[in-house]
């Protein structure tokens, strides 16, 4: 098991290194000097030269890459051009804001999605199955940003139940913060609930048709025990993988949800950075996002190795 973990960690680190290299190369293939873009046409040549030197954009690309990478490891994440501050001071609050939307939504969507998927699989071809599968198909076709606007219109503008948009840190004013988070969390969850329900249903159906379930039935076990203990345990293995892979999609979804609800998270920060061609900030944020995605994949893979001994050998 130790060897398996070491191997998976090493693989993830290599992939992460390639991610950084690709991000860096694409970012630096953008024509034009970012300093000139930021300062505008009114800037003098001296100003541009001075700031280009301060940010190190005059050095060869490879040197810049190594410098950036060394900074990431030592905790110096560089300076943002458009915010004119160190990126490390900028990020923590943003990450907290994003996580306070994504974590509740992850918990809700896993619980509800798996539950609905099990019910649909057990009552296969019944009306509950049709309803769950139908809703899941529609849910997967619904763009998060549009659903968010629909919620704003119905819940905030028409029924006046919740504040339209905005973000208040939970430590500042808990009730107001929660009230503002309800809609973003709901919107972000619905798509994932649909996805998990679909995946759980098909994973369960695959298991239900196998011989050992028939054996369990002929042994006279209760249907509930068969489904929740024997079937679910085996269906969990593919489900956990799906879960690990979908963390990335959740992060992609937050960019849109944060934009609609004006939440100052890393998603909206990424948009600002992209619009302002803020090289280092864009690189850092995409690095963080892929770090989260790769990290969750890694954890899942290691868990997977514990659950299913066959994986370790491969």
């Amino acid at each position: 098991m130790g060897r398996y973990i070491v191997k998976r960690v090493a693989q993830s680190v290599i992939v992460l290194l390639i991610v950084t290299l690709l991000i860096f190369l694409v970012m630096h293939s953008i024509p034009g000097n970012p300093i000139r873009l930021y300062l505008g046409d009114g800037a003098t040549t001296e100003q541009i030269e001075y700031y280009t030197e301060v940010f190190g954009f005059d050095q060869p690309v490879l040197v810049q890459y190594v410098k950036w990478l060394r900074g990431i490891v030592t905790g110096e994440w560089g300076r943002s051009i458009c915010f004119a501050t160190d990126i490390t001071t900028l990020l923590p609050d943003r990450i907290v804001a994003t996580l306070s939307v994504t974590i509740p939504s992850l918990v809700i969507s896993v619980i509800l999605g798996v539950l609905l998927g099990i019910i649909a699989a057990v009552k296969r071809n019944g009306w509950i199955d049709s309803l769950v599968s139908g809703c899941a198909n529609i849910g997967m076709a619904t763009p998060a940003f549009w659903l968010a606007i629909l919620f704003v219109y119905i819940l905030a503008l028409k029924c006046k139940l919740l504040p339209v948009q905005g973000y208040t840190p939970l430590t500042e004013d808990f009730t107001l913060g929660v009230r503002k988070l309800v809609m973003p969390v709901l919107v972000l969850s619905l798509g994932s609930i649909a996805y998990y329900a679909r995946q759980t249903r098909s994973a369960m159906l695959e298991v239900i048709n196998q011989d050992f379930i028939r054996t369990a039935r002929s042994k006279g076990l209760k249907e509930r025990t068969i489904m929740l203990v024997h079937a679910l345990h085996n269906a969990l293995i593919p489900l956990v993988t799906v879960l690990g892979m979908s963390i990335g999609n959740l992060l992609g979804g937050t960019v849109l949800v944060e934009q609609v609800f004006c939440i100052p998270g890393i998603g909206s920060l990424l948009l600002t950075a992209i619009l302002n061609v803020d090289y280092i900030l864009v690189q850092d944020i995409i690095l963080i996002m892929s770090l989260f995605a790769l990290g969750s994949n890694l954890i899942v893979d290691i868990l997977y190795g514990y659950i299913d001994p066959r994986i370790r050998v491969k």
Partner: protein, 292 residues
């Protein structure tokens, strides 16, 4: 003559069988009708609608739905329904073209990786892993920031960000097909490496890739809408569903139709493509059930 007749008969019968399985669920018929309707509407808008999608008329700003404007008008007095129908063109075009880009490039890379193995394989697949580590919307957004906005660039960005799935699936089936006897037989007969790779191996991977492409069409349309919503996609004033929702959000309390109606079209279209993709998978490749 008779032989030919017999042949025609079997093809017709096979088509019938195919259609029988494909349309076995009522939902698929509904989805198929939606797709056909969308294509027709996209082609026929100039005939069907008396309005210009981009011409603003300040006398008719933010009108509520009535007989002359079925879905009302937006903040520049443009007919919402007309713009939605013109947006269908953008969505379908970007969806089809970017899926094609992804499928063709992904298959090519997967074929090279699986056929060559060794260092080429490792390099290609590690790059694919790296691309998969970045969420699709973020990857497309990021590539878009480097390439710039506009129709061609968006197609390219969305296409590239979907490549890894095709490369992985193709590589997997290449590796398994390669070991089969008929490939060895072909080699003994003196077929060149290129011939074997393209004619014999690629042919085998085609159906699973086609199924995946149909299933990804909806995703591609959703991604385009998301990018356009974030003002990183199709440039205004060209009508795109995502851009219209974004614009309508500002006027939500005055005329909700402007933001909400285009979204309904997105949901319908993506849903229809997903349902038809599922059905096509069940027909062409029942083995893939649950894996894609």
């Amino acid at each position: 003559m008779e032989v030919q007749k017999g042949k025609q008969h079997t093809t017709a019968k096979r088509m019938q069988e195919f259609a029988g399985v494909f349309f076995s669920r009522k939902l698929v018929i509904f989805g198929f009708i939606i797709i056909v309707a969308m294509i027709l509407l996209a082609l026929l808008v100039p005939v069907l609608s008396p309005y210009d999608p981009n011409l603003s008329s300040l006398k008719e700003v933010l009108r509520h739905p009535d007989i002359s404007h079925w879905l009302g008008t937006d903040d520049l007095g443009r007919d919402v329904l007309t713009r939605i129908l013109y947006g269908t063109r953008v969505s379908l075009l970007v969806g089809l073209a970017s899926t094609l880009v992804a499928g063709v490039l992904g298959m090519a890379l997967g074929l090279i990786a699986g056929y060559m193995e060794g260092i080429v394989d490792s390099v290609i697949m590690r790059i694919m892993d790296a691309m998969l580590a970045v969420p699709i919307v973020i990857l497309a957004l990021f590539l878009g920031s480097a390439l710039g906005k506009g129709l061609g660039n968006i197609i390219f960005c969305i296409g590239i960000s979907m490549i890894p799935r095709y490369a992985r699936v193709t590589r997997g089936s290449v590796l398994s097909v390669k070991k089969l006897d008929y490939i060895t037989a072909g080699r003994i007969y003196g077929a060149s490496r290129f011939q074997i790779a393209v004619k014999h191996i690629l042919k085998n991977c085609l159906s699973s890739n086609l199924v995946m492409m149909t299933m990804n069409l909806g995703d591609a349309i959703l991604t385009e809408a998301s990018l356009s919503y974030l003002a990183m996609g199709i440039n205004p004033p060209t009508a795109s569903w995502g851009g219209m929702v974004s614009n309508g959000y500002e006027w939500l309390s005055m005329n909700p139709c402007v933001a909400i109606a285009p979204g309904i079209f997105i949901v319908l279209t993506v849903w229809a493509f997903n349902v038809c993709g599922d059905a096509l998978r069940d027909v062409l490749d029942p083995k893939l059930k649950g894996t894609l």
